[in-house]
Amino acid sequence: MTIDFLTNAFGFNFGVLNIVFIILFVVLAPLVGGILAGIDRKLSARMQGRFGPPILQPFFDVFKLMEKEGITVNKYQDFYMGAFLFFIILTGVFFFAGGDLLLVIFSLTLASMFLIVSAFSANSPYAEIGASRELLQMMAYEPMVLLTAVGFYIVIGTFNVADVLAAGKPAIIYLPGVFIGFVFILTLKFRKSPFDLSMSHHAHQELVKGMATEFSGKTLALMEISHWYENVFLLGFVYLFIACTSWVSIIIALLVCIFVYFFETFIDNSFARMRWEVAINSSWIVALILGFGNIFVLYFLKLFGII
């Protein structure tokens, strides 16, 4: 009964395995995301010639924030933050259940909008500049994210994540340009250095803390946990490019996920921050040449029956 309902809701055949994946994602993603954040901080410290904090430091930070007094500038800001967490989890649930890629992308966009509204609601100049910059960043990465979904559709013939994974060949064979373009905008999504405009992740004093300026205590802890969910989901997207039915491809896909994360940390530590114009121009050029170009070539190869 419930499974039938879910099958209708998701628009594809829903099994027990999908529910197992959903539960695994909801329970394990914050653990994996937190450890990834700790590894990122440790790696960054080593790249800068420092010893660095313990791997579990992000968990200590979040537990501490939970213990702090809650200062809320505007009571709605906590509601929006809760909605951000909810829709990020929902995005991951759609994705890891093998659902529709378009639904995943729209849900991710909605989640980001809630974070932006939450920052705007505080009415603080620093949070507002941060939120405006986050809107610009969304403008920068959204075209490439949509082109990624279109690319999968052209290769597999469906938007369903489950069908992409059930394909005989990895999608990256047909979508190398789209993959590089997606990794490029991951820098924006992970809030890494050339483009961490909205949060001032490393330059703490530039916009005070950008969007996060007015969040404190539990609200800030919720934001951190949401980012852990988001990072795990984004690495899942990288996995989707490489994994198919064979076991070898699954192992390679996991290794590529680790490598991409390491690569983003490396980029983070080797670049200074750039202006927002550079963020928009470069990601649109990448989306046009690598993303659209890849799909254009693929379309004609299919049209003439070469693949």
């Binding site: 904090p53 430091q57 501490k64 213990e67 200062i71 500038v73 703490h204």
Partner: protein, 150 residues
């Protein structure tokens, strides 16, 4: 067990310091001393900070700034006065424009004397401040009270 001692985020404010102590505070974050080993982050945002590091004495101009930063920090919070000027006013104590040490305006928990205070003694002062932070956290009870600024 409390996690407040495991992730101390600091905010650093330069009162009327000569910049000697400020440079030493920032030196704590460099690869030489690497305060991030203990989870210490320089936030620059009072709403995220647990420890308030003040260098230099307080004067009429920055009295309200120091008070505002202190009031914006969520409980539990600890103030560390770094350098002799922040502790007592130092050689400027007799000046007509100096009110004295930071404790003339806000309650100070830890005093780190020195001119300038060495990074070792600053880190030592922060570690002592963590003890005070844990005591304050224990005094708050299990549920921190929510505060809404309207």
């Amino acid at each position: 067990m409390s996690y407040v001692t495991k992730s101390p985020w600091v905010i650093h404010y330069d009162g009327s310091s000569c910049n000697g102590c400020d440079i030493e505070v920032l030196a704590c974050l460099t690869p030489m001393y690497d305060a991030e080993r203990f989870g210490i982050i320089n936030t620059g945002n009072p709403k995220h900070a647990d420890l308030f590091l003040v260098t230099g004495g307080v004067n009429e101009q920055n009295k309200n700034v120091v008070k505002q930063i202190y009031e914006q920090m969520p409980e539990p919070k600890v103030v560390v006065a770094i350098g002799i000027c922040a502790c007592s006013g130092g050689i400027f104590a007799e000046c007509y424009n100096i009110l004295g040490g930071v404790d003339q305006v806000i309650p100070v928990d830890v005093y780190v004397p020195g001119c300038a205070a060495r990074p070792e003694s600053i880190i030592d002062g922060i570690v002592q401040g963590l003890g005070v932070l844990a005591e304050k956290r224990a005094a708050m009870g299990s549920a921190p009270a929510a505060k809404t600024e309207e």
